[in-house]
Assembly symmetry: C2
Homo-oligomer: 259 residues x 2
DNA sequence: ACCTGAACACCGTTCAAGT
DNA sequence: ACCTGAACACCGTTCAAGT
């Protein structure tokens, strides 16, 4: 094997000729190179392999261009600019194009449910939340939409902002909680099973110390199914909306959701 | 300037001799090398410069050891192992060593307040949340503590878990929302001011389109002060706890927090 | 058996040379 | 003026050679 031969997957388009010019297929561009195409490629790569797998060079190779062309075509100055563009395309997906319910509670519930669904498909979005500022046009549209949802809530500006923040942060937190971390370290199924086994043994040893009585009763939390995670989300969202409603306007509209 | 001369900050301890042996200070170890010292160095580096600045090589240089020694001394197999250790030391800080209040609402409030305070000091923790599984011993102790907080809540296991999840996810989400992103890209004060100016102009242009009436009324959100962010957190936490209480047990205990 | 220097296979980004 | 190959200064991790 040569020292640094192209490894197929990551082969650059500048790799030297194979076969004859006549039979060699032209590097026909699969998609016209635009900022959108570049960002779309980055998003789908991140969806599939996580944020760490994003590299300018890999995206360039995927789009059959040179690494540096990504900078000039997407008009980005750094990888962080690319991240900002990725964040914003996800924000676009969170917009409720079908319109907002009139009632503020239903409107907030609708945005929260939609946001969570979108975030579950793009787990890396949450990884980026702490590092980047959300000011892209679609982030702004999303914020405008959420503010519109509570526009007829008769409370002062600060409270309205706290309401929006409460629902948004709850939603993001739930998404972070529910995200499937199975794909971590790109483990194979076999390696994953082995890892799970090690975790099991380790946790049982901890439980055996007797220092975790409540945890022992509660059982394994990582095994919570996607359906249960969604139930947990819907329950919590109702509690939060009930809480906002009763705290701001008294108890008249609350429903019991016990069991 | 030589091609790859050590740049001071990142100079390796294996850099060749300067001056005489007799006057050259011995590479006296500042702290005895242990797993704890390695993790502590990583945590403080991440606190100061963000998660991306973490590299095995930099940590090694800081501790005056070779990069590979980090692996053998900390008994880690990969950078991800180091991340897991970092996560867990933060979990340790979230434990309420002073004990839990008896009332479940006060107990949950206390854990949430403490967690948020800790997370604000270690913003990178949230960046890692989506990629790693929280199963370290201190993460387990934290979970045990939260479960203990709701141990005398007379609801079934699934509901109790949803309560814990609701408060935890809200707290993490609020911390993510409130984290100071000023340090992004290690910009200088001047570069930061310039960037802020650009953001201002950009946002004003967006507002001028008239497509963001609610946003225009609400004003600039990024400028929210740490104090206001804390108020927003406390308000939302009260709403959530009120909501849980009234939804599960009826309205008797709720207080109005209007204005 | 343990430790580690050198090497490998990547990075993001700069820059100068080419068109 | 625009584009880009080569170079620079990093990475994490493997591995073989040294003790």
């Amino acid at each position: 094997m040569p020292r640094s031969g192209p490894t197929g997957k990551r082969s650059s388009i500048s790799s030297k000729a194979v076969g004859l010019v006549w039979t060699r297929p032209l590097a026909k561009r699969r998609v016209p190179l635009t900022r959108e195409a570049i960002v779309a490629a980055a998003v789908s790569l991140a969806d599939a392999e996580g944020l760490d797998s994003i590299s300018i060079r890999r995206i360039a190779a995927q789009l059959l261009v040179r690494p540096m062309s990504v900078y000039s075509f997407a008009q980005i100055e750094s990888k962080e600019d690319l991240f900002d563009l990725m964040i914003d395309t996800v924000c676009a997906q969170m917009l409720l194009t079908e319109g907002l319910p009139k009632d503020w509670r239903e409107a907030l519930r609708a945005t929260a449910v939609r946001s969570r669904a979108v975030l579950m498909r793009h787990p890396w979005w949450i990884d980026l939340l702490g590092r980047r500022v959300l000011i892209g046009p679609n982030a702004m549209r999303y914020r405008e939409q959420t503010l519109a949802a509570v526009a007829d809530l008769h409370v002062d500006k600060g409270i309205r902002m706290a309401v929006v923040a409460a629902v948004e942060t709850f939603t993001v937190g739930q998404a972070a909680f529910a995200v499937d971390r199975r794909g971590l370290s790109q483990k194979t199924d076999r390696a994953f099973a082995q890892w799970r086994g090690a975790v099991e043994t380790y946790q049982q040893a901890l439980m055996a110390t007797g220092d975790f009585p409540n945890l022992a009763r509660a059982g394994n939390m990582e095994a919570t199914s996607p359906e249960d995670l969604e139930k947990i989300f819907m329950l919590g969202l109702d509690w939060l909306l009930n809480g906002i409603s009763t705290s701001l306007f008294g108890a008249q509209k609350t429903r019991r959701t016990d069991q």
